[in-house]
Symmetry: C2
Subunit: 480 residues, 2 copies
């Protein structure tokens, strides 16, 4: 049992629970709290700090989510054996959880034009380049135009004009085979995966995931008690051969074919066909998460796996969080006809229907051609940011890391030179204000490669070049 010496400032604008959260997180990142160490119960810490138990519980809950702590509040809480960055720095949660302090107050902190959305953070679009004026005009117009009926109860599957617009876009841009009636609007890809798990996976069923893979998907796919089966990834994507041998009793396979998370490779056509063949033979389902497919810098974007599926085995998952902005909370599934009614049942039990206003705004944004224009514009901007990052890395970190893949998406994946422990590097980067994801945190099994995932979507070329310089110093510095 450790006693934490957390400096709590009651006069500060930062809420107590946030101060506790940051105190403990800092202690872990700086190594003052080591892996496996037991931390005080919420009750004990509350007494020690002379605060109510609530802020302590809030802080613990966040640290548990982010993977800094393990165990359950009450029955003993410990510093995680493997430093997280798992949930924390991958494409969603943590950005969410970390941005809380900045989100809660009306304005971002002055010291940071991005409201704390620092360089290398994963899954952040270029909010500074978002067409705010146009978007807000559409919001105001749609809010004004919303008929009474649209303020009442909506279609559980989503606002039909939006579903139609999404289907049109997917057919053209992603070669997805779909009708508007197959589009199920949900609050994001996390919700889509959670919903698919509720429909397709029962306790004890097995779900296969890429190894390494997207840690955020684990929580959703195993929420109903399914068992995770990691399947290795090579430079053609998930190994279907391994799936044949290890995949017995696997009901669902989760894949990211157009831009493998985290390695960034695209699944080869041959591998795609083999996967579909396996799914048909095993009567299993394929969950295709097309999270980051819009941006390719070295070749044309690849069509979706779903478009190659002649047997309705693929459930396609997409989100607008990365092309537009995460707080939009609109994602969608393309559901095979045979599963439609089961998904509708489950969707409705989760929540009656999605909020209407943003659906109407997004439908107009898509139909008005703004979406395609936005994509084209952002592709050029992200291409520039990617090149700035790669240039900076070559200049400042050349010998210490080698880029595995930078062909597409909003992050670059690289291996660290031997002897460099990625979790340690990430911790030291954090002390310099840099946010990165450790490649090792994307592995479920013991065998992990040491590397970094650096997001470049949310920072300007200047900040990325500067951040690369700082990273170089971190990599050259001796440990600690």
């Amino acid at each position: 049992m450790t006693t934490l010496h957390l400096p709590i400032d009651r006069s500060s604008a930062t809420p107590i629970h946030r101060q506790i959260y940051e105190g403990i997180r800092g202690a872990i990142l700086e190594g003052r709290l080591r892996s496996g160490r037991r931390i005080p119960s919420s009750r004990a810490l509350a007494m020690e700090l002379a605060v109510s138990r609530l802020p302590v519980l809030t802080a613990y809950a966040q640290l548990l989510h982010e993977g800094y702590l393990e165990g359950r509040v009450g029955s003993g809480t410990f510093v995680s054996a493997s430093l997280p960055d798992d949930l924390l720095l991958t494409r969603s949660t943590a950005t969410g959880l970390r941005s809380t302090t900045r989100v809660s107050p009306p304005a971002p902190s002055p010291d940071d034009g991005y409201g704390g959305l620092g360089p290398f953070r994963m899954s952040l679009p270029a909010l500074d380049e978002f067409p705010h004026t146009l978007w807000n005009r559409l919001v105001a117009r749609q809010a004004h135009a919303l008929p009474h009926a649209a303020m009442a109860y909506g279609d559980p599957a989503g606002w039909m004009p939006l579903r139609a617009a999404i289907a049109d876009h997917l057919r053209l841009a992603r070669a997805v085979r779909c009708e508007a009636e197959q589009i199920l609007v949900v609050p994001g890809s996390q919700a889509a995966l959670r919903l698919a798990a509720a429909v397709l996976l029962a306790r004890g069923d097995r779900v296969a995931m890429e190894e390494p893979g997207y840690p955020g998907a684990r929580a959703a796919l195993t929420a109903d008690g399914a068992e995770l089966v990691p399947v290795p990834v090579d430079d053609e994507g998930m190994s279907v051969a391994a799936l044949w041998t290890r995949g017995r009793r696997v009901r669902v396979v989760y894949v990211t074919p157009s831009h493998q998370y985290p390695l960034g490779t695209a699944m080869s056509a041959a591998r795609r066909l083999a996967l579909l063949e396996w799914a048909v033979a095993r009567d299993a389902w394929v969950l295709e998460d097309d999270y980051d497919s819009e941006y390719r810098y070295v070749s044309r974007p690849l069509g979706a796996l779903q478009g190659m599926d002649g047997h309705e085995r693929v459930i396609y998952v997409g989100t607008f969080s990365k092309v537009l902005f995460p707080a939009l909370r609109i994602g969608y599934l393309v559901v095979p006809c045979t599963l439609w009614s089961r998904f509708m049942h489950a969707r409705w039990a989760f929540d009656l229907f999605p909020p209407t206003l943003y659906q109407a705004v997004l439908a107009e944004f898509l139909r008005g051609g703004h979406y395609v224009r936005h994509l084209r514009r952002m592709r050029a901007i992200y291409h520039g940011r990617r090149d700035a990052l790669l240039g900076g890395l070559a200049r400042h970190c050349g010998e210490r890391l080698n880029v595995l893949n930078a062909d597409g998406g909003l992050h670059v994946t690289m291996r660290l030179a031997d002897g460099l422990d990625d979790a340690d590097v990430v911790a030291r980067m954090a002390r310099r204000g840099l946010t990165a994801t450790a490649l090792s945190s994307c592995y479920k099994g013991r065998e992990r490669r040491s590397g970094l995932l650096l997001g470049f979507g949310g920072s300007t070329e200047r900040r990325l070049a500067e951040a690369a310089r700082v990273l170089g110093e971190v990599l050259r510095a001796d440990r600690g």
Copy 2:
């Protein structure tokens, strides 16, 4: 096996799936399709109508939700044994599902100023009296003011200023004991119940519900395989005596103490204390759904059950769907500290965080005092609508029905004179354009009282008086 003669008009603006839905629903309501009859498989009907299978599946899915059909698409689909109105006409789904046709087109149909939100529909607020101009001004302002950080990832528990505003309001208006840190923002009460079920109920666990009770809660509470235990309601609310005898192995009790759904009675103080005593003794949880507590016409609103709970056994559920508008999709839970981290885990797996814009708008609406002013104003309007309905019923339907309760909320509950079958009456009302809920549809067990639930929130006094006249004709007319 029946052949359905559905008139499909390809030139019509109404989507095919909607035409099929309405055709089958009409056939059931008009008795052309009788209970228990098997209907064609989606494939067969698609061929018969020479349409693709998708619209047929969409239509079947909706009819399944609404309880018109039972069984699963593919393995045979049948007309329900008990006419639904269950989901269809209770406070949520159906209004949702039925309003689809009207919601999808940009404008409500001209023949109906309410976009098809006809008289007696349950759970509809007075959208015609909603302060649209003020609300839209706040929407435009908040959309404009939203900092970049607020467009990124938000707090999974909700936007802190909103949580603080909700906690302040609940303490004052509902005597709820809570801190902002206990408020968990969700898309509505359905989502709140689904989340509570995911946290508190495992397959095989037992959950107690009022009998009669809110059918919409069943889907959410049993989604993870929990078993439902109906507990009778008398004029003091749920019978705790019955709970003691039948409540063995019950982990969770779902109650609507301030305005029992559907009967409208308020749970007595003695009964509330007895329920809390039972929960402590049995180490069980109480789910308080305070869905309709803001409006009382004969006495002061009662405080929440949660406020009487000294042992943190109550999870409080609230929504803004009825006071503001359903498409807002903002509800909340007040979570006991001991359960907080478990709820946060589950919440995050369902969806990373709630969309930010409407949270910011609602926070300003609450803090600016607009919410309380709105409540006061609406209370007077609803009082007038309730009186208009009661007056009309006394004038036109006096001898055929007797009002059980009209003390509060947005609907009036009444018994039908002997010999009148409520499902039949509801079906005949539907043919006259009236939407009502059969009291019998709120029972789980076989023993059911015949009565009507008539919503008055969404219609003007004039329309309610006229609708009461029509209802009188329906009640006096001979069957069919």
